[in-house]
Subunit: 258 residues, 4 copies
């Protein structure tokens, strides 16, 4: 917004980009070097240059230096844990009608990737209450969320929601747990009238039980779907879908309290 | 949040819900009746009752009264115009890294459906600059956005972005236009370093030209994909994908300025 | 093969073709007229003309006259009954390793469409033994198979295969029935060592039970899959998948006796 | 068919089956041993035993001995060359209306896998005329077809069909070549009235040119499609599509001469 192109500063986090498959998130600091399989980069030398510049490694490879953003982090967290994919995260957030000011319950916290996306979109005045039963998962998620500076929109709980949800009149509940159907009564108590519940499950048997449970509990607008993402190799006169693809991530069930 | 269940008030907008296929958004007002093909509903009689109540039409049909929300409106706008679907809207917003405070350029405005989703997620301090060349589309979109109370995060422009984008150093550009490749140079000038561009197109030929244009202009991380949504008929012991399905909406191309 | 183009003869069956969506199979006979919603065609006038000729209706519409073939009939039978689609029929036949000389058991006969494809490919020396419990289905299938001149490779049985299969040492069993898992023991008795069984079912629950049953019975190479057919609107510079598509027909399970 | 279970004989070809991912086609011979990564199998010891028997390797691993069939060979040829998949082969053969007695032109021969499937289904009186321009491909295909005992239904030609097709009045032409649109005029000359042409291509650009060419040449019923095969992991209460899948093999274009 301000005058002139953005310069690389000491302390910045930057993306060192080789190609679509290879890039690193790096903290730029004086006196620091970064090791790649294609040689070393002297990070101090980058300070004061414009973003977008090309850096050369000691072995002559070239990388572009790009300002990092939230999506870089999200993709990295998701790649490590491989549970919920970006495409599903985006649609779950929409189907739960998550908006600035929303109060959302999530279970479980897992890596905190979905938590971070929900937290981003309830800002500035909303809150994500995220439940997890495994302490080490919570600790790891907390680290991820702190790094993303999102903890102010998140309240973490080490509890099993099938024993009860502390919050009431929440706008949405998002479930990524092995047995979502066992939580439905508690979800119903926590949700406000008209509030949304969205559940993500890898197997069709989980979907069957969840849908049945939601119908029995009087939820309306119960829907089940899956998103299949097809990537393309686009090249002039040689365009086709990629040969290898992720065939399945999971199913999404959504419903509304009535 | 406060004590007791929410009551239906004069002036509320509510969803009258029959089933997954049939529901209406209605303003509750004294002295007003609502006509359905299954008879009349006296809206005044609903005032003071709890949300979730069942209303009976003069012909004996039953409807549930549910508080309306943003998603109800979004789905209705999208159904009318049938261009960008919710699944694509959600992923486009994620791939553009749209967050609270983001400054986003959109072209074209169309029905304002995607604009509204972007505006929701740049709140409270960000802004969506949305370009459109057809006055009647802009007027209709303005009406939709005003109804959703989102105009404070939107600036509408009656301009062709291939002639230039007024803003600079924006975080993201979202394109839903017939010839996105003709706008790439202007998009590049408007984007900040590391900023994201996401384009939506129905045909594979548009994708080919857009990807080629982005590569030529030095964008990095150029990707092309599509989302296929498969809905399910879930019933105990009879679960299967729906027989009729939307086979195609459009392709998404994303890239990053470098 | 012989000299000169083929001429339309009295008694021929021909395809009257308007476009991809509209065509009819018609027997050409002296003194006969054919009624379409676009006017009458005098079939006698076609006799002696070359195939490929254009015929005009009394209302001025144009149709092409093309020699009919087996596939025209198969598509018509399948369209009427809407159970097994061509794509599935072709793969089932391959996965059952149906070849000239194969002895194949089928259950149930249904419309005879799949029977006809199997019969075609066991000719000249093989045989399809097809079981059906509903007499009216068998009668209809017989009519279809006689019209296709395929009854010499088919033996029809009005029996429930869960009570036993008359044949032994057959090369393949093809199942299109509501409860395939209830037939597995009888299928095993009928199949030769190394023979193939292929089952088609619309719901995932049927697949689960069938796969479990096959595993329990010691079948090997048990696989479950589905074929999704995506059709395209291909037009220069406007190519894309069709918007409306058949999202699901059924699942195919295949295995091998051991 | 005859009395008693089938016995393993000297000279038989058998399938040694470990699991769905691991099996070998082996010729059983006196004095021969077969090496696997799990130890040796003495093939002579199998002679005289029943098919279905379990054999033990010197390292204690267990394999089942199953009679081999055509599909075992087809899958192996296809796996080696990885061009046309079984699902596409089966549908191409159906869409070309290939039947006993059909005269079919194929271009190119490639590995002979598709040739073998076509040859199987034109038997006993039909013929596949298969064109190839690369001598080493033809030689390899001949070897494959001889092993399958199918050469009596195949005539191999070392020619480029864009220079002309020797046959006329053929029932079908099947194209698996880089530039199918360049062959359309010759295909039209070779096909009988009402005959079918089916073309397989990996890229959408090839599809565009082929469809345009067929329309221009007056073919009718021009269709473009693709088959997507989704495999499933079926297990009681844990059923879901496989995570990794073949996202694309190729597009199929079919049409009819008029």
């Amino acid at each position: 917004m301000a005058g002139g192109p953005k310069l690389i500063e000491d302390g910045d986090e930057a993306l060192l980009y080789v190609n679509e498959k290879k890039s690193w998130l790096v903290r730029i600091e004086r006196g620091k070097k970064f090791h790649t399989h294609k040689g070393l980069i002297d990070l101090e030398e980058l300070i004061g240059k414009q973003y977008g510049t090309e850096a050369k490694t000691t072995l002559g490879a070239t990388l572009k230096v790009i300002p990092s953003d939230y999506l870089d982090h999200l993709e990295r967290i998701m790649r490590r844990t491989q549970v919920i994919y970006p495409k599903d995260t985006a649609l779950i957030t929409m189907l739960a009608n998550v908006r600035p000011g929303s109060r959302v319950v999530e279970c479980g916290t897992g890596s905190g990737a979905l938590t971070s996306y929900l937290a981003t979109h309830v800002a500035p005045s909303g809150m994500v209450y995220t439940y997890e039963v495994r302490g080490e998962f919570q600790a790891n998620a907390r680290k991820n969320l702190e790094k993303l500076n999102l903890m102010k929109h998140v309240e973490m709980k080490l509890k099993d929601i099938t024993n009860g949800i502390d919050e009431t009149e929440v706008d949405a509940v998002v479930l990524d747990m092995a047995t979502p159907w066992m939580a439905i009564e508690k979800v119903k108590e926590a949700l406000r009238m008209g509030g949304r519940v969205v559940s993500f499950s890898p197997t069709i048997n989980q979907v069957e039980k969840t849908v049945e449970g939601l119908n029995t509990a009087g939820f309306v607008n119960v829907k089940a779907l899956e998103l299949i993402m097809r990537t393309y190799k686009v090249k002039y006169n040689e365009t086709r879908p990629d040969m290898v693809m992720v065939g399945h991530t999971g199913y999404i069930v959504s419903a509304r309290r009535c």
